[in-house]
């Protein structure tokens, strides 16, 4: 489960400005959330918090049963291995093949090499990249890199899956396959958070949505009731609450 209570994030503390203010929401285990909002609303910062790339400046953040704000640094690697992330910029290691990029989470978890080979091959087959397994990321198209990033995020069956614009570089068929994968993982118990600008995607797969504006949560409910981005981008945060 994911639970935020009064969470704020400020870069370059104490002099930097706050990018997230007083966030309060919870996602039950196996829950699904769209993360919506205009550019600069704080979606990426919230995802950075949830991927443990930063810790909250204040407030309480509970991820998968671990109180992040109090956790010792040595506890975080194990927690990170239970979180899968699809980054907007893919974040692949350019000197490793597609196969080895996908294999990284399994190897970090200490899985036997035989199991790694089987799981990674299956994952690459699923994303349609079996023939490109030995290609390096610079040799892959944007869409192919996106699929490698997706395969890497889900290969270890994470308990929490975070995706930042996961369909941005995919064609309609691949985007459809990805959404089916996310729904299937969600059905099997994985908590899923997907950040997107695509209203079409949200309309096609309606569900609960978190809407951010200027670093504040302005909506936590059905995606069909979420305010449109152009409305929240001009909305004074205090009034929006």
């Amino acid at each position: 489960m994911v639970k935020l209570e009064g969470v704020a994030l400020r870069y370059g503390w104490p002099s930097g400005g706050a990018v997230l203010h007083d966030l309060n929401f919870a996602i039950a285990e196996g829950g699904f959330r769209w993360l919506l909002g205009p550019s600069g609303a704080g979606k990426t910062s919230l995802l950075r918090l949830l991927t443990l790339a930063v810790r909250p400046t204040s407030g309480r953040l509970n991820l998968l049963g671990v109180a992040v704000e109090r956790a010792r640094r040595a506890e975080l690697p194990l927690l990170r291995r239970r979180i899968g992330t699809v980054f907007q910029d893919f974040r692949l290691l350019p000197h490793l093949s597609a196969f080895d990029n996908v294999a990284l989470p399994l190897r970090l978890a200490g899985r036997p090499e035989g199991q790694v080979r089987a799981d990674v091959s299956e994952m690459l087959r699923w994303v349609g990249l079996t023939s490109r397994a030995e290609a390096l990321p610079p040799e892959l198209s944007g869409g192919e890199q996106q699929r490698v990033a997706i395969a890497r995020a889900v290969v270890a069956r994470p308990a929490l899956l975070l995706a930042d614009e996961p369909t941005g570089n995919l064609d309609d068929v691949q985007a459809e396959r990805l959404m089916q994968l996310l729904r299937e993982l969600n059905r099997l118990g994985t908590t899923v958070v997907v950040a997107t600008h695509s209203t079409a995607l949200v309309q096609r797969y309606p569900g609960r949505a978190l809407v951010l504006a200027q670093g504040r949560l302005v909506h936590d409910g059905d995606s069909g009731e979420a305010p449109p981005p152009e409305a929240v981008s001009q909305h004074p945060p205090d009034a929006a609450r």
Binding site: T51, L52, R81, P94
Partner: protein, 305 residues
């Protein structure tokens, strides 16, 4: 928990490019070369000092004023001294310098013919010790009682100065080794920092995927250790011809022979302790590399959440 990113030891962080196998090994080779010279210099100073010490310490000089005068026990004072020296344990041989020998010794002060000056010259005994159970104080007391005015002179002052010189040289060598260690550690730290900067993105990615500090530091330390070990072996190999050349030059001072040493004799001429110390340089350099890389990477990773 996995101890490394990949059991095969593959280059998951791309460190083969980030930590080049050119500059660092060459610098470490230079440091190892200097360390080998410092060790050899220190040991050579000790060896030569020991050689001189054994020569000087095994000699003493006995001066007998009025040698031809009669002693209390009968016979001349010089003969009495000669008898006492012959009966003293620890003395290998004693030799009374001839008048010509004494004249040669005094020539710088008294000219060609000191006898013409009618000076009362003492008799001089050059005594060689065998190193076993010799009691210099006891000998001096016995001589003074039997032949008053007899002087026993050991080369103690020179030995003390020699010991001071050797201590200073060894201190300088130790200081040089410390400086070498410090510079080597600084070089490794700089190279590691450069590698961290070069591979920052890759490190942040694997860190975000759940790599521990130990895994990442281990990859860096392994690469750095291999580079340092290679450099140290290279430096050691390069230092050997120089050390053997210096040994060849120094050999006559130790052996007293001007004959050049054969290669086999040269190798044997290096003391076993020096071989041991030289052989320990690569592992010590590797250990410095490993510890420095681990510390540098872990300190850097400490800035990440």
């Amino acid at each position: 928990m996995a101890r490394s990113l990949r059991p095969s030891g593959a280059d998951d962080l791309g460190l083969r490019r980030a930590l080049s196998d050119r500059l660092l090994p060459l610098l470490v080779a230079a440091m190892t070369f200097l360390a080998a010279l410092a060790l050899a210099g220190s040991m050579a100073a000790e060896g030569l000092a020991e050689h001189w010490r054994s020569g000087a310490a095994s000699m003493l000089t006995v001066q007998v004023p009025s040698p031809e005068a009669g002693a209390a026990g009968g016979g001349s004072r010089a003969d009495t001294v000669a008898h006492i020296l012959a009966a003293t344990p620890g003395i290998e041989s004693s030799h009374r310098l001839s008048a010509d020998d004494i004249a040669a010794l005094l020539k710088p002060w008294l000219g060609e013919n000191p006898a013409s000056l009618a000076l009362p010259l003492p008799a001089m005994f050059e005594v060689r010790l065998n190193g076993a159970e010799f009691d210099a104080g006891g000998l001096a007391a016995r001589l003074s009682q039997a032949v008053p005015g007899t002087l026993v002179e050991r080369n103690g002052a020179w030995l003390a100065r020699l010991a001071d010189l050797v201590r200073s040289l060894r201190g300088c060598a130790a200081l040089a080794l410390l400086v070498v260690v410090f510079i080597a550690a600084a070089m490794v730290s700089l190279a590691t920092r450069a590698g961290l900067a070069w591979r920052r993105d890759a490190i942040e990615i694997v860190h975000g995927l759940g790599a521990t500090d130990g895994m990442i530091a281990g990859l860096f330390a392994m690469r750095i250790t291999l580079l340092v070990l290679g450099g140290a072996l290279l430096g050691l190999v390069v230092s050997m011809p120089v050390l053997l050349g210096l040994t060849s030059l120094a050999a006559p001072f130790g052996s007293g022979s001007a004959e050049p040493l054969t290669p086999a004799e040269l190798l044997r001429a290096l003391p076993p302790m020096l071989w041991t110390q030289l052989a320990s340089l690569p592992p010590i350099a590797a250990a410095i590399g490993w510890v420095t890389a681990q510390a540098t990477v872990r300190r850097w990773l400490g800035k990440l959440p």
